[in-house]
Symmetry: C2
Subunit: 207 residues, 2 copies
DNA sequence: TTAGGTTTTAAACAATTGTTTAATTGTGTT
DNA sequence: AACACAATTAAACAATTGTTTAAAACCTAA
């Protein structure tokens, strides 16, 4: 299939923005990556900032919608968490720079998330939070604030990908080695998080 | 005490670099923060890059030396881990932007860590890794690669601070609320990680 | 074919960047 | 006081930035 000019620019922008961040790249760099003139980028997207906003929002939408999809499934809560973690590892294996990209932008410009509030509400409205609270009141899940639950899950999924350069140099290993460690790490993350959230269920507490 | 010009520049650079990153700030911004002329910054540090390198290395040294200090103590291994996590939370409470700062720079310029290899070796030479391996062979610690152990610890310490802007917007809470969640989260991190690393020791497995 | 429009380009714009120059101020020594 | 040297500044430099302009190339329909 042939890609139109607009899509070519979006693809190039995604590549460059994610790799170098907003401030650390130039309009001309994006144009070059897309194989065209600088002016044409602005002809389609008015400005570097507007182009960035579009890319950022599309990345966030993909990310959040994948989460919501898991939450809306009719799996038991415990399996939702497991699936969420496994999916996250899969996704991040192919897009390891996305967490950094998102967090950087949010700290650079906290308002950038405003247009995404509707998508964010889909998470709340999916009912996962209520589901968790119910399990907690039944004693089937460790009682703790859901902010902590979110943190436990995302910490153990996202950080290992974000910290790749640091880990490689600390342990003196290369890219391939580290990727192998990451696939192993997925099972640890699943076992540990589930084991902590559901301390009464010993079916998969110990590897 | 009176601060000399050179130190004033370093302080200003630390503030600005950490807050905005290398690419997203200007030499003039640093000079203004230090209350002086742009040329004076270069008079003392030759260039923006050289100044950044100095700041980066000093931040990393503080960070790593604090780790080594824990490792060199004569606490039992389990307590070293606990102390490490607690110290990390303390440190990050007052310097929450440092992980982002470090990881960004490492991905922007992987060579920036080269001058720090000697300090990095202090971690290896502290003997923690051997200590862990010994405990594992004795069956006192869950058998797993030490890369994974490092990851488990750092994920659950650093990510919660890095993801503050994202978490605040996902759960619709403000800075104060989130800080409270972070202090609670420390106990979860300690309990979960220790419980996972030492599954046979039930003394503090369940909160 | 040609007229009217869209798409693409080269060139220019003003603003900002990191860095340097040359002059000014300050400080301490003789 | 006069000199020498360090510290500080204002001004300028060339390069790069995001953005705009005006012309060229392309397309489509009559």
């Amino acid at each position: 299939m042939i890609k139109g000019t607009e899509q070519k620019i979006k693809d190039a922008a995604l590549t460059v923005f994610i790799q170098k961040g907003f401030a650390n790249c130039t309009s001309r760099e994006i144009a070059r990556e897309a194989g065209m003139n600088v002016a044409l980028v602005n002809y389609y997207f008015r400005s570097k900032s507007k182009l960035f906003a579009i890319i950022f929002e599309s990345v966030m939408q993909d990310f959040l919608k994948s989460m919501v999809q898991v939450f809306q499934s009719n799996l038991p809560f415990r399996e939702k968490i497991r699936l969420l973690i496994e999916r996250e590892f899969e996704f991040l294996s192919q897009n390891p720079e996305i967490p950094n990209f998102v967090l950087n932008e949010l700290s650079r410009n906290p308002k950038s998330i405003e247009n995404l509030l509707p998508v964010l509400h889909m998470v709340t409205e999916s009912g996962v939070f209520d589901e968790a609270k119910k399990l907690q009141s039944q004693g089937d899940m460790r009682p703790m604030d859901l902010v902590q639950v979110t943190l436990l899950i995302m910490s153990n999924c996202q950080y290992p990908f974000m910290a790749a350069p640091l880990m490689k140099v600390i342990h003196g290993i290369d890219e391939t080695d580290y990727k192998n460690h990451l696939t192993v790490h997925k099972t640890h993350a699943v076992t540990m998080v589930l084991g902590y959230l559901f301390p009464n269920d010993h079916s998969s507490n110990h590897a």
